[in-house]
């Protein structure tokens, strides 16, 4: 054993560092610091394959399919709205239109029932030869917001055999929900509102219910929105019968249904449960509404279509 080895054996941690120690100290300190920082990040973020939650996207949103969305979402999905990402899964060539179908997912940990899904928008379809066409309409699944399609009408610049390269969301239709209630005196079954009722829902938009009918088992509400809502709104209305003390007797509701935004509509209601609707029981009817006024957000979110399967 050499003298250097003996020195190594008997040295104290409190000894001043030797020249060699000074050489290695920054390296060791860096390694410890790097290990600690990386381990903390990896463990918090899920073993290195996940990253922390993204923040809400400002408007306009600019994202590119080439920039992988963090593993807040499954691989291949690109965020199109706060806490919502999409991926094109099919191109369907029909007799009148080319349709690109999307699947959406909510971000990790988000409540899938929160209605932050876009109701529509405008999209651009880019062909391999550089030609660009605008979308005809967004097709919504009636009962699930988890899938939607974008249809492009066939034209001189978009044929059934046109090779496609990219689809871009240029405008996203958001719908910030506003809720409220209208209470009317209840005069017995069948109930027909004596005159149209309306309510200011905010931002200068007025909801009008020109016809409210409530009967045994089912009901019907006509609605319209006026004011600064050029792209319309998604409107849901429910009805609850209340006794003189304000206690609920029973309620009417609509099917959970995804409807395209519009400025007028009719909602068919059904009983949520069996209840008595005679005049002795019910004193008032409360109409609870949710109005999602569509606003437009400029975006530039692109998806590569080269590897998306095409079928007829």
């Amino acid at each position: 054993m050499s003298g250097t080895d003996f020195e190594e054996l008997f040295k104290s941690p409190l000894d001043p560092p030797r020249e060699d120690d000074r050489v290695w100290f920054p390296l060791a300190f860096g390694a410890v610091a790097g290990f600690a920082a990386a381990a903390a990040l990896l463990l918090l973020g899920g073993g290195g394959s996940e990253v922390a939650a993204t923040t809400s996207a400002p408007t306009p949103v600019t994202t590119s399919a080439a920039v992988a969305t963090p593993l807040e979402y499954p691989a291949g999905y690109v965020e199109i709205a706060p806490d919502l990402a999409a991926r094109p899964v099919a191109v369907v060539v029909g007799d009148e239109a080319v349709t690109v179908s999307f699947v959406t997912v909510v971000s990790r940990g988000s409540n899938p029932a929160v209605p932050n899904w876009p109701l529509g928008g405008s999209w651009l379809l880019e062909a391999a030869d550089g030609g660009v066409v605008s979308s005809d309409r967004v097709v919504l699944s009636r009962f699930s917001p988890g899938v939607f399609s974008v249809a492009f009408a066939l034209s001189d610049s978009l044929g059934p055999a046109t090779a496609l390269s990219r689809i871009t969301m240029a405008e996203r239709w958001d719908h910030a929900d506003k809720t409220g209630a209208i209470t009317l005196p209840y005069a017995g079954e069948p109930f027909v509102a004596a005159e149209p009722v309306d309510s200011e829902v905010g931002d200068g938009v007025k909801l009008t219910l020109p016809d409210v009918e409530l009967g045994r088992y089912q009901g019907r509400v006509e609605w319209s929105v006026t004011g600064p809502a050029p792209h319309g709104a998604r409107v849901t209305v429910g009805a609850t019968l209340l006794d003189a003390a304000g206690e609920a007797i029973g309620s009417y509701g609509a099917l959970p249904e995804l409807v395209a935004p519009r400025t007028t509509g009719i909602i068919d209601l059904t009983w949520q449960e069996r209840f008595s609707t005679n005049q002795q029981g019910a004193a008032t009817v409360r109409l609870d509404y949710t109005v999602g006024i569509v606003t437009v957000a400029d975006t530039q979110i692109s998806f590569d279509l080269v590897d998306v399967p095409t079928s007829r």
Binding site: A39, G47, R108
Partner: protein
């Protein structure tokens, strides 16, 4: 080499070391045998480090397949599973799991036996188990999903003259005006709907474009009522049919090595 440079090298070494240890630790946490019942083994799969719902899950696009166990008995292998969605939903569920809509469904599976033979099996939308008929004495080496179906909403529209016998085709089926009853203050149109049957056929509900029509549904069709005397001469019906379009690929669901 100066101190900052050495510190930088150390930093990189530390990061790499931490990454390696965490990855190895994750691999150790992957469950192997959690079922205790005879002839049943837990299904081990390739999973992300942080599952969406539970360890051992298999991601199919926007839906997660949750294996519930593989049993092999009398030359029959049965894999049971649940499905959980990552997609937004209209259902306002209050349970802690907060699962979203299932928009992807498994369809065609391939089991590879321990001696290399392949056994196919198919499942429908409502199935939550897949059955493989094994060659006599064969074991299970691996199971993979080779086709799945993705919900695809497609719209269609048809314009019909309001006369008995007028018909058209929508994605959700064939519609035909069966009868037209003109009354003093209303017009009633009975529309027959012939929808194709089958697990994967499109599902949709035709509705009139003009919401002045009142709709009353019934088996095999629907009734449209126009209040007033100014009924239009043409009926425009549209639907949004959800088609389950097939996607081919390969998603490992079970391997004997890790199972």
């Amino acid at each position: 080499m100066n101190g900052p440079a050495r510190f930088g090298i150390g930093l990189v070494v530390g990061v790499l070391l931490a990454w390696g240890i965490v990855r190895a630790f994750d691999a150790d946490l992957t469950p192997s045998d959690t079922e205790s019942a005879p002839e049943t083994s837990a299904v081990a799969t390739a999973t992300s480090a942080l599952p969406w719902f539970e360890a051992g899950e298999v991601l199919m696009e926007a839906t997660v397949l949750l294996p519930r166990g593989l049993s092999v008995e009398d030359d029959l292998a049965v894999l049971e599973y649940d499905l959980a969605g990552l997609s937004p939903t209209l259902e306002n569920r209050e349970d802690a799991e907060a699962r979203g809509d299932v928009v992807v469904l498994p369809a065609t599976w391939v089991l590879t036996t321990s001696d290399g033979a392949s056994v196919d099996a198919t499942t429908g939308p409502d199935d939550r188990r897949v059955r493989f008929e094994l060659p006599v004495g064969a074991g299970v080496a691996r199971i993979e999903l080779v086709e799945w179906r993705v919900a695809t909403p497609l719209g269609s529209r048809v314009e019909l003259p309001i006369t008995s016998g007028a018909s058209g085709i929508l994605r959700s089926g064939r519609v035909q005006i069966a009868t037209v009853l003109e009354q003093a203050n209303s017009t009633i149109v009975q529309v027959d709907l012939d929808q194709p049957s089958g697990d994967w056929e499109p599902r949709g509900i035709p509705v009139p474009l003009d919401q002045h029509w009142r709709v009353a549904g019934q088996e095999g069709g629907f009734q449209l009522i126009w209040e007033g005397q100014n009924a239009p001469e043409e009926l425009v019906l549209e639907d949004t049919a959800v088609e389950w379009r097939p996607v081919q690929g390969s998603i490992p669901v079970y391997t004997a090595e890790t199972g």
